[in-house]
Amino acid sequence: MVLTGRVAVVTGGGSALADGLAAGLRAAGASVGVVDGRRLRSRDDAEAAFAEISTGAGAPIDALIHAFVDPAAMVPGPFADVDPSAFEAAWEGTMQAALFALQAAFGQMRGRGGRILVVTPTSSMSGEPGLVAATMAIEGLRLLAKSAARQWGADGITVNCLAPAPEVAFGDAVAGAAVSLAPPALGRPGDPEVDLGPVAAWLVGPDSGFVTGVTVCADGGTWMAP
């Protein structure tokens, strides 16, 4: 199997998306540890959580699949009604967790290479009314990944984004109508384990080593830009 012998961390545990991706990576042969987003509130916490997983697996982590968006960002509503504490939870909560997760992964990958995959629903590329702060944070994640790809390429670390359909990430909070007038070309928005898992496995596996800084949309053919 493509990920046999590889150790992967999936963040955002507890969401259907993260748990489905973790199952998909296990199906591809990886040893997978799942980290709750609440363990990403400081760099020390993130490093400790990742160290537990590498200690348990008996090897440093080869792949990070960061699939955490702060739940506060998922609450739909008019942007003018989002108060500063809600905005802080959505924006800072999501971005700081990503920063700490990527830094903790880098600490284990530096000098030996690795794969980082950040999950960024297509909503940030289309825009989504009622989820303004969420889309800001998701696009922030996408560009954090691109910058990390540019800096850490010399260390043999690739950093990419996997973009699922909005409803796969947000569920009932979003209709996904903003993404395209057309329905998904393949007829469904996608199942995290069955449809997204193999794409994630390729992006964190041995055969994608020359691909970095890109966003792969795995949304059944809805968002088709560029």
Partner: protein, 256 residues
């Protein structure tokens, strides 16, 4: 009242004490708008307002810290007091820092970038919203982002996500506020600002590389190359353009 496509309208421009913001303020004033120079320091903001007034246009300086919600709401209140309305909010203010490695970024550095770009955008949008809505089809929010918000940055990795967040904000808010006739757009400029000139002075090779990549072969003028684009976006002529990023960089970045 001055003549022009923006005659009778009022604009707030943050970070207008220098660089791109100063250019935008001058261009909006030339197009007829009353312009509030929202600058962090009166020492930079007042002279810009004075230059605009000497040209026969209308400008006032209001000292504003975009990282402080109360300061932004006070600026909007002062604008309403002085001019009676606010149709055009331009958030340009930005304060970053030197080059950095992502693995070395701490919360202090992160907050420096996040504060002006993202929190500033949030405070400006929120404070302006009732007035932009009242302006009907003249309401405009323009955010100044960067090509780095699309292509990533090897030298300032934290710069890219905060600039990217502004692009997503424009797209989502355009969808949310479209029903009020408000447009929300971004510009992504490369211009002769004190910041860029400083970078060129430190690294002359950077200027060569940038101009070599630029079809138009020069770095933009803040007023005539960048401000003019914001004046267009603020005008009725651009009333059907929303959610977009207009890259004003002489054709250097072609990735949209």
């Amino acid at each position: 009242m001055t003549a022009g496509p923006l005659a009778g309208r009022t604009a707030v421009v943050t970070g207008a004490g220098q660089g791109v913001g100063e250019g935008i303020a001058k261009a909006l004033a030339s197009a007829g708008a009353n312009v509030v120079i929202a600058a962090r320091r009166a020492e930079t903001g007042e002279p810009v307002a004075e230059v605009i007034r000497e040209r026969g246009h209308v400008a006032e300086c209001v000292v504003t810290d975009v990282t402080d919600e109360h300061s932004v709401t006070a600026c909007v209140a002062a604008t309403l007091d002085r001019f009676g309305a606010l149709e055009i909010m331009v958030h340009n203010a930005f304060r970053g820092s030197a080059n950095h490695r992502l693995e070395d970024v701490d919360l202090k550095l992160w907050s420096n970038y996040s504060g002006t770009a993202v929190w500033g955008s949030y405070f400006c949008a929120r404070a302006a919203f009732p007035h932009l809505r009242a302006a009907g089809r003249s309401g405009r929010l323009v955010l100044v982002t960067s090509p780095s918000g699309v292509e990533g940055s090897v030298n300032m990795p934290v710069y890219s996500p905060v600039k990217a967040a502004q692009r997503a904000m424009a797209k989502s808010l355009a969808r949310e506020w479209g029903e009020h006739g408000i447009t929300v757009n971004c510009i992504a400029p490369v211009a002769e600002t004190p910041a860029l000139m400083g970078a060129f002075a430190l690294n002359p090779v950077l200027k060569e590389r940038l101009t070599a990549r630029t079809p138009l072969g020069r770095v933009g003028d803040p007023e005539h190359d960048i401000g003019s684009v914001v004046a267009f976006l603020a005008s009725d002529a651009a009333g059907y353009v929303t959610g977009q990023t207009v890259v004003c960089d002489g054709g250097s970045f072609t990735g949209l």
